[in-house]
């Protein structure tokens, strides 16, 4: 009789690594605080907080995108994901923790005295700007706080509900009728989650959290763009955990067929990201209206006066478009552990870089000359590694608590006999 390794035992090295990474994160945080955050200059402080904002929001939206993956595939009755569903569920347990961290950071930015990042939170700047006054029914402290708290709580609660539903059948087998009911309940909750997702990540949340950093600027594409930029690394995160667990001898029922499918998601949505990137950039470039082009001028500059972000701007495209289209298009590469691992790491970093160039240029801008400059990125990256460690820790903890196979799920057998 086949015996399956259902219980994940956290290897010692895994724990060491996650602790070490979190240690690196905290160390970088402290260094950045001393070198920038503790300075009396408001611009220096903002540079410190921008790093926290970029990292926390990026990793929050990315782990939340994993819950989106679960709910989207559940709503579509996808059978293939069941064999590794516990992995996605485990990653999504990071949402509440990173959610709390992000909320704290953002509330400090909104209610603190430093308004370099969120200009709209400063009554004096609002008074001086007609545009900010017009926006104030939306961009104000009260609405920001309430909506942020409501949405993060909903992600938390519905995510927990979806996970609990999956755990509820761990020790009872289902008849076909019960299976239908179970699938139905899952579908309903997945749909509820997606409605909340549409009203948050696909619309309001990126406007509030990120687009409002460039408070005078606007683009209707912004939220959808932000969503894809977190969905690609979300899929990469699932894939990389699967590869790790496979290498440790777990997830016997998951094989290269499933990995191939995740690779397809990464590939397809990398191209979709490029599509949205191009649409947003091209339309703003083409119509050339100053109130819109400012955003890209900060990042690209002009021929005479190129922006220091130019390199990052194009590197973003190379990593997130050129690399996936060249490497992930081939069937073999989506089924190859080493190639997939490389691509996962690259894409998680690539979209981190995307978020970096979404957040920093407006913060690192000289108010007099309008010149932007790029900060020394190593410590920001270190803080990012801290979040990676945190996600590893939380995922590992959740994986070790529950069986890794949802043995009674109506679609588990479909997932075993899966050909892509």
């Amino acid at each position: 009789m086949t015996t399956l390794k259902e219980q994940f035992v956290i290897p010692k090295r895994y724990n060491t690594w996650s602790m070490a990474l979190m240690g690196v994160g905290i160390l970088c945080l402290i260094i950045l605080f001393i070198t920038h955050g503790a300075k009396s200059d408001q611009r220096e402080q903002a540079r410190f907080w921008a790093s926290l904002l970029q990292n926390s929001v990026y990793f929050l939206l990315m782990t939340n995108a994993v819950m989106f993956f679960i709910c989207a595939t559940t709503l579509a009755w996808g059978g293939f994901q069941i064999s590794f569903r516990r992995v996605s569920e485990a990653i999504s347990t990071a949402v509440p923790v990173i959610g709390v961290i992000s909320v704290i950071i953002m509330l400090v930015l909104v209610f603190g005295n430093n308004h370099i990042i969120y200009q709209w939170a400063d009554p004096n700047q609002v008074k001086a700007s007609h545009v900010l006054q017009t926006k104030s029914p939306f961009l104000n402290k009260g609405f920001f706080t309430v909506w942020t708290l409501v949405i993060v709580s909903l992600w938390w609660l519905i995510g927990a509900k979806v996970r609990n539903l999956s755990r509820s059948i761990d020790d009872k087998s289902l008849t076909v009728e019960q299976g239908k009911n179970f699938t139905w309940t899952n579908t309903v909750w997945a749909a509820i989650y997606l409605v909340v997702f549409a009203l948050s990540v696909m619309s309001t949340i990126p406007w509030l959290w990120l687009m409002s950093i460039d408070a005078h600027w606007y683009s209707t594409m912004y939220s959808w763009y932000t969503w894809v930029s977190t969905f690609v690394p979300g899929c990469a995160l699932i894939a990389i955990f699967i590869i790790y667990l496979k290498n440790q001898g777990y997830l016997e029922l998951t094989n290269e067929e499933h990995l191939h499918d995740l690779g397809k998601f990464m590939f397809a949505f990398s191209i979709f990201w490029t599509y949205l990137w191009f649409s947003q950039y091209m339309l703003i470039w083409y119509s050339n209206q100053p109130e819109e082009t400012t955003y890209f001028i900060d990042r690209l500059g002009s021929r005479q006066n190129p922006s220091p972000y130019k390199g990052i701007f194009f590197l973003n495209l190379v990593i997130n478009f050129v690399a996936p289209i060249l490497i992930l298009m081939k069937r073999g590469s989506k089924r190859h552990y080493a190639t997939m691992t490389f691509m996962c790491v690259l894409l998680i970093f690539g979209h981190w870089l995307d978020f970096f160039q979404m957040v920093f240029p407006a913060v690192m801008k000289d108010p007099v000359t309008g010149q932007t400059h790029v900060p020394f990125m190593l410590f920001d990256f270190g803080i990012g590694l801290g979040f990676v460690g945190l996600i590893m820790f939380l995922t590992g903890r959740s994986l070790s608590k529950y069986p890794m196979i949802i043995r009674h799920h109506p679609f588990i057998k479909e997932s075993i006999i899966h050909h892509t």
């Binding site: 406007w207 209707t220 091209m282 339309l283 043995r407 109506p410």
Partner: protein
């Protein structure tokens, strides 16, 4: 026993009734081989009549020029461009079903892909008429082709989204046609082999390109399907993206918004599925194909309608919100005065759009409604109307009161020849569809046969015992071949 596929009993079968291969061939070929019914003749004649009216209308325009369409003011183009975009949008579901759903391995596509692809091709043909006849001097049409010439500075403007349209639509049409036709080959060969009349043998013989059903043929067939799916997936997005660029590259308030490309694509899929529903709800009944195009199929497509309708809804609200948020007085005017204000001359059209596209599809949250054929048909018509009005809102409400008040023109009505042209395209569409439904199998018989061993009642019945097997036993018996 090496199991190649397993499908949970929780899923409803995609083919109802216990069918044999022969029965499938019989069921699907029967309508093609039978004499056309009275109903068919009536529908076909009416379509041809409409088409003739269209030909007359276009002839009037070619002889007397675009002045026949009252095109002496910008908003006069409202009707014409609306119709063009409406058709091109409808031509999106087919390729989505055939290509993207093939890549996503959605079994249910098999029942509906043939008809949806045919519909796509006809819709694109209809859409293609508009740019051609909009040229006015249509005999100069070859000017859009970039080739060395002696016309001096008259050279295609590669910076214009309108020219990109020409390339996008013709590419899309070519690939969709190839996809549709290559899928037809095995079925045409079946018809050839079953034919008794000489002309039928000849006709289907030529059309089947010598298909013999050898393993080699099937192998190439499968590879071709995958390659074409890969090629057409970006095309599904590109065509409507470029149509959206026609508007969004401008600086016209209400047109220039960055969300246009993906939102147009979602809207196109939305309207395309509505048209597929309109056609299939009737076709399956008339041709007796309810066991192949099941209620399950209808329900899934209704789910896509509510999904894409809601995506479009989010886009509408995003546009509206950002128009306000931008604090740009022109955007504000276009949205809040020309659209949202119901008392403005065309404010009503905004509410028709919102009502038909965003609010009414929400009824499909209820499962019973998704499986109700009458309601499905009614909703599909409503969505078709709503999507027509979406384009009307975008085009007319943005340009009838643009930047220059001296150029404002609230009075706008299409002329009889404009209406005639539109009705003509409707006639063209249905003429093609009636001919297709008569001479070609509307369901892909060969692909349905693949599905018999994957998701039919008979297969489900055979697999029943595996459902209750413990997971370990299942893995033991079937899992080893699959890397487990």
């Amino acid at each position: 026993m090496a199991l190649l596929r397993y499908e949970s009993q929780v899923r409803a079968p995609l083919i109802e009734g216990t069918k044999t291969y022969h029965q499938v061939t019989e069921d699907i070929c029967r309508p093609v081989e039978a004499r056309p019914t009275r109903l068919w003749w009536m529908g076909f004649s009416f379509s041809v009549l409409l088409l003739c009216f269209g030909i007359l209308s276009v002839t009037m325009e070619v002889i007397y020029g675009v002045g026949q369409w009252n095109l002496n003011k910008t908003v006069g183009w409202g009707w014409d461009i609306t119709n063009f975009v409406w058709w091109i949008g409808i031509g999106h579901a087919g390729t989505l079903i055939s290509a993207i759903l093939l890549l996503f391995r959605q079994g249910w596509r098999t029942g509906v892909n043939r008809a949806a692809e045919a519909m796509t091709i006809f819709a694109v043909i209809c859409a293609g008429q508009f740019p051609i006849w909009h040229m006015g001097r249509v005999w100069m049409g070859f000017f859009v082709l970039p080739y060395p010439n002696t016309r001096g500075p008259v050279w295609p403007n590669f910076n214009s989204a309108l020219l990109w349209d020409v390339f996008a639509i013709s590419t899309y049409f070519t690939v969709s046609l190839l996809f549709w036709y290559s899928g037809l080959l095995p079925d045409l060969a079946s018809l050839r082999d079953r034919a008794r009349l000489k002309w039928r043998k000849m006709f289907y013989g030529v059309a089947a390109f010598g298909w013999s059903g050898s393993t080699k043929h099937w192998q190439r067939f499968e590879i071709l399907a995958l390659v074409l799916a890969g090629l057409s997936t970006p095309l599904v997005l590109s065509v409507h993206t470029i149509v959206s660029f026609d508007f969004a590259t401008s600086v016209v308030p209400g047109w220039h918004t960055t969300i246009f490309p993906p939102y147009f694509v979602a809207g196109a899929i939305f309207s395309g599925f509505a048209m597929v529903q309109t056609l299939l709800v009737v076709t399956r009944k008339v041709l007796g194909l309810e066991e192949y195009i099941t209620i399950e199929h209808i329900e899934v497509m209704n789910k896509i309608i509510i999904l894409t309708g809601s995506i479009v809804g989010i886009a509408y609200l995003t546009e509206l919100f950002v128009a306000w948020y931008s604090a740009n007085p022109y955007e504000n005017f276009a949205f809040l005065q020309n659209r949202v204000n119901i008392n403005s001359p065309y404010g009503w059209s905004y509410y028709i759009m919102m009502g038909c596209n965003v609010l009414s599809p929400q009824i499909f949250w209820i499962r019973k409604m998704r499986r109700n054929l009458v309601l499905t048909f009614f909703m599909s018509i409503l969505v078709n109307i709503g999507m027509w009005f979406e384009r009307f809102v975008i085009i007319v409400t943005s340009v009838y009161r643009e930047y220059l008040p001296s150029a404002w023109s609230t009075y706008y009505r299409p002329t009889v020849w404009e209406v005639g042209f539109y009705l003509g395209t409707v006639g063209l569409f249905f003429t093609c569809y009636f001919l297709f439904a008569k001479f070609f199998p509307v369901v892909a018989a060969a692909e349905i046969k693949h599905l018999l061993k994957k998701s039919s009642d008979g297969f489900k019945h055979k697999m029943g015992e595996l459902e209750s097997e413990s997971m370990e036993a299942f893995v033991e018996r079937h899992g080893h071949d699959h890397g487990a």
